[in-house]
Symmetry: C3
């Protein structure tokens, strides 16, 4: 999340009661997957100190004094996760809305919104859209022009992202999210889909992409232009689909990976790592489709092999 204007790091240090080493002004806050120059970030485990210190972020909330490169600053606190939450909650407090369409929402000309849909605070919906009944568009999301969203779909549900510690009564503590969902022009989203907002950045559906029903898109995931997703596809968080990717029905995609331009993934396949564009894939775990097809043939030859080696 970018702050509305740069915030003095001394002021932040006071807010979270941190010992400050360094100075400057923070322009935003992000979790480690999405940091930019000028950002606040947090780290609480020595295993990730290096990654965090050497990331693009400028201000590091940490539980130990460490050496940092020139131009970076440390905010030292006992519990960096809690400090991060406090900053996010300050800039994005829970803001209830009791109306179907919030007074702070903006809806473009020529857009029709059916009954029983909810448009939250600071939402922007473009021109010539159709929002079917029982859709929920949560706070801060941005919908482009000529977008169609079918019934029952949810845009901007919370990121599924938790701070995990198994030595306390409640293992999982919710990471408050301050990211958005951005739906670009000419996107069509089917019925019963769920698109989570980014933890601290944006989930983006690229121009002209078409999604069938009951598709789940995780936090901070970015879909390119002209992608085609069939029903019941599930994509985890922080995934990148380049332009022109096709996913057939019930495909599952693991987190933090990239699918190359114009790749095609056949139905029910499971994508566990990066895949190159321009090819077709199949299986769970996936292989290139022609390789997987050969494998299926080889499996059918085992009995013949057995008979040759072992006899009848």
């Amino acid at each position: 999340m970018q702050f509305p204007s740069p915030v003095s790091i001394q002021w932040i240090a006071e807010l979270i009661n941190a010992k400050l080493i360094g100075d400057g002004s923070a322009t935003g806050i992000n979790e480690i997957h999405k940091v930019e120059k000028g950002d606040l970030v947090f780290v609480d485990h020595p295993k990730y100190y290096d990654k965090c210190i050497n990331s693009a972020a400028t201000f590091i909330i940490i539980n130990k004094a460490v050496n940092v490169p020139e131009g970076k600053a440390l905010l030292i606190v006992d519990n960096p996760f809690e400090a991060y939450c406090k900053i996010v909650d300050h800039f994005r407090p829970f803001e209830p809305c009791s109306k179907n369409i919030s007074d702070s929402a903006v809806v473009g000309e020529g857009t029709f919104i059916y009954p029983n849909s909810f448009i939250g605070n600071h939402v922007s919906v473009g021109k010539n859209c159709i929002i079917y009944p029982n859709v929920s568009i949560m706070d801060h999301c941005i919908i482009g022009n000529n977008v169609i969203i079918q019934s029952g779909t949810v845009i901007g549900s919370n990121a599924f992202y938790y701070n995990t510690k198994k030595d306390r009564e409640l293992w999982y503590k919710k990471m408050p999210d301050c990211g958005r969902v951005i739906i670009e022009d000419f996107v069509e989203i089917g019925a019963g889909c769920t698109i989570d907002r980014g933890v601290s950045h944006d989930t983006i559906i690229g121009k002209g992409t078409k999604m069938d029903n009951m598709i789940h898109i995780g936090h901070d995931t970015v879909l390119g232009k002209n992608c085609l997703l069939a029903a019941q596809v599930g994509i985890a968080g922080v995934v990148t689909l380049k332009d022109g990717v096709t996913l057939w029905g019930q495909v599952g995609v693991s987190k933090t990976l990239t699918i190359g331009e114009n790749a095609v993934i056949y139905g029910q396949s499971g994508v566990g790592g990066d895949v190159e564009g321009g090819k077709a894939y199949l299986g769970s775990p996936i292989l290139e489709a022609k390789e997987k097809s050969r494998e299926l043939v080889w499996v059918k030859r085992i009995p013949e092999l057995w008979e040759k080696v072992m006899g009848k």
Copy 2:
């Protein structure tokens, strides 16, 4: 879609600015999967000319003058897809509805509709139904008697069907749909399901069929009587399930295929082609269950075979 009454083909030719060869009255319009005698149909790729010309359709919107059998007529235009869309839009214009239950909807005696459900234009709901909260039943759908629809379900979402051309900025253009969903008597549909309307014909759920939660049914798909579908099943478009078919949880079914009477498909299986009735199937891609079970045993024997052939 059948027209309310036959329409002079000269009138249609004027509407879409076509050169007309032949005459007569069209009784309806359908895309190629579902054409009947008297129908208008369109074709824009030479690869499909023959299929289209020799289909049951009587009036062919096409981008070239070709020979047609006796009794058929041609409507020649530069862009047959756009012409098709124009006719559909004329007979099924977008008709917004700002009420929870449209004034043109008909609801039978003894039916209870919970709050926050939406019943669109020209919908008919039969007698003694229960429509739970947050259900959306879109325009022109027909619900029989003694039907139960659980919360959050969507009946009549748009078909996921696009005209594709990868040489323009927007690859996918929505095919406007004019089909319906027909739910027969004694059908029960779980929570969070989505049933797409037909592109130009009807999606049908047969009498006494029971569907669990989060099931997706594609456009123009026809389910027989007394089918049983477990949760998270996904069925693509233009599929036929004969009577008494059972699909277990998370089964995926590809488009334009037929599953025979009383077939049973076990959980997570993927059906990629026609399957005979009266048998049980398993796997992705599926095999007959007993064959698949044997295959799983063969795979486990590879190490033994390896040791025999290759040594330890």
Copy 3:
């Protein structure tokens, strides 16, 4: 279901027009999976007579006079299923609700309920909860404190549970359900989930458990504390997840089984039987993850084996 107070078995016998052998007071009614002492239960097929007679239940609705252990009673009727339904319908009649929040619902302090959500009869929602838009919480369900339920989720949809007889026109007759859903404190449930009520007992989500989007939980299933379920997981009925279980995306779990404490099931796996805790599993059908990984390697070695045995 427990009755509000014990009910004379003579009164029940009259209600269902049964021949009574024995006496006493029934404290509740349950289907065979969940019976307790003092319960009524029904059985209509000789194959299940023994299981039912020797269950914890005290009062057996049956279609034949049989010997029962000391202290049990029989209620003999022609159609035990219909008799069971009659009793359930008497104690849990269909009770329509035309308001977004029923007058008999109780909502705790500090809880915010967004527009277009439905809270049914006799529902209890605890303190400091957030119920997002377009959520449906059906009759008799109990939501704890500090619970978050994202948009479009359905709590307490009907159990998918039918009496099946293939020699009548309608094969499947709905078993009326009288169970509840109980969501314990600090549970978070994603968008577009569906949690079915118990047939006669309770579906329970344990304290601190976190569920992502589009998860289906079947009737009478019990999730332990601190479980973590990723998107599009489906769990059938009468399943037990012990504490600390993790299910990755699109996992499917079959009915009436138990997953042990701290087990981890990787994405798209299919769980068909009980699995021990403390281990990781993979595949459909699942194996221990390391065993499945070895199997995938063995399959890739078939061509080498073939060449050695058969020649090029």
